[in-house]
Amino acid sequence: MADNGFQEDTVSVAERMAAEQLVVDVDGFEGPLDVLLTLSRTQKVDLRRISVLALAKQYLSFVERAKALRIELAADYLVMAAWLAFLKSRLLLPPDPTEEGPSGEELAAHLAFQLERLQAMRDAAARLMARDRLGRDVFARGLPENVTRVKKVTYTATLLDLMQGYARIRTRDEFRPFVMDRDAIFTMEQALERMRGLIGYAPSWTDLAAYLPEGWDADPMRRRSATASTFAATLELVKEGRLEIRQTETFAPIELRGKDRTQ
């Protein structure tokens, strides 16, 4: 009795061991399609000539065994099992012309195509990984030279910036003591000094413009200043009685000459 029981136990343990081998495999599988592809290899034929019917049987028995071992199969394994059972019945029964939908052969052909395509991709992946690879077989420059970035700065400003800048300065003028643009101004004092030195050499009527200091006649602004101060200085000298001044008509040139001193 005990022997028998022991024997029975040994058998079931061995079976369980064998089944557990499968359990490990199930874990290693990447879904039902992967299982089908693995199972198909036992047929040792071209995937295009594979017997889908035989494959369906193999898969169903695989699922049965898993069930017997109370392995929790993921839902997609069971869906595939149901679908294959349906496919099996389609393939076994004579085609019913009244039935709609694809025939068993069409479904089988598609499954064969899927398997072949997956196998093709696996082969392609293997070939890809076997290529001469950068960093393993083929090497890039070991000491890449850095491309230095030369920064070229361009400055920009808008017309508004310019106007605001100018306005800022003109506004600021209000808050600082006003300073003359001296080099554009010929003061009356300067003119007087200059005229005093010159009148001795003015015996005849001469245009006032001729007395403008050198370099002050080109720029209109400076000419204006020099003319005004020279004219004012002239009037001062006339007042002193040292000069005579005349203007023949309105806007005509103002002429002047030295007055003989009567002492």
Binding site: E30, G31, P32, L33, D34, D76, G101, P102, E106, L107, A109, H110, F113, Q114, E116, R117, L118, A120, M121, R122, D123, A124, A125, R127, L128, M129, R131, D132, R133, L134, G135, R136, D137, V138, F139, A140, R141, G142, P144, E145, V147, V150, K152
Partner: protein, 219 residues
């Protein structure tokens, strides 16, 4: 003023340097750079009027049979050691991260079927694609997002990158090993299962894929 410094020694009156010089320039640029450089980038760095494409033809010939080669990577160019001399370089070998089988298969499917959606990858592999797998490939810059498919939901597609081509020594995606044979055998098609929930636009989808596939073969 600073412009002068950047100018080549010949003060060209917009006359390109002789081809021999251009070849030297391309040589120097490719040599100095680890990453592939496009013809446009080359010309942007060379003096005005240079023909980098022609210089590359000469340069490539010059390096034929040498220990270093001029290789095309997508639309860019790079210099790489000859594959048969890899054994000399154990010191330089970088430990490439071990890719999972799922990642390798996903990569192959993207390379051969591009542009391909996640659903299509899953259809081919028969299992769902984990986020981690795609993320890893994206992170390695071997795949990137392609244009969206013109199918309902406008799903995003994946395509391989220049980095992928560079890593596997491919001039372009058309050079993938066995691509023509796979295509001829119809194994790059995305055949809908017979009697699939007729969505009516299956044909469109097929057409779209055919176009993409043929693009691969266009010269």
């Amino acid at each position: 003023m600073t412009e002068e410094a950047g100018k080549p020694r010949e003060e060209s009156l917009f006359e390109a340097p002789p081809m021999g010089e251009q070849e030297r320039m391309v040589e120097a640029i490719l040599f100095a750079t680890a990453e592939p450089v496009t013809v446009r980038e080359l010309e942007a760095r060379m003096p005005h009027g240079c023909d980098a494409a022609e210089a590359l033809v000469h340069l490539r010939k010059r390096y034929e049979g040498r220990g270093v080669h001029v290789v095309k990577v997508g639309d860019a160019w790079a210099m790489r050691t000859a594959a048969d001399l890899g054994f000399l370089m154990q010191k330089e070998t970088v430990e490439t991260r071990k890719l999972s089988r799922a990642a390798i298969e996903t990569l192959a499917i993207i390379a051969y079927h591009q542009p391909v959606t996640r659903a299509e990858i899953e259809e081919i592999r028969g299992v769902s694609v984990s986020r981690g797998t795609v993320d890893q490939l994206l992170e390695m810059e071997w795949i990137r997002f392609g244009r969206r498919k013109m199918t309902p939901g406008r799903p995003v597609t994946f395509v391989v990158t220049q980095g992928f081509l560079d890593h596997f020594g491919l001039e372009n995606a058309r050079d993938l090993p066995g691509l023509k044979e796979l295509r001829a055998a119809g194994l790059l098609e995305n055949r809908p299962p017979p009697g699939a929930l007729g969505l009516g636009d299956e044909d469109d989808e097929d057409e779209g894929i055919d176009v993409d596939q043929s693009e691969l073969f266009e010269e």
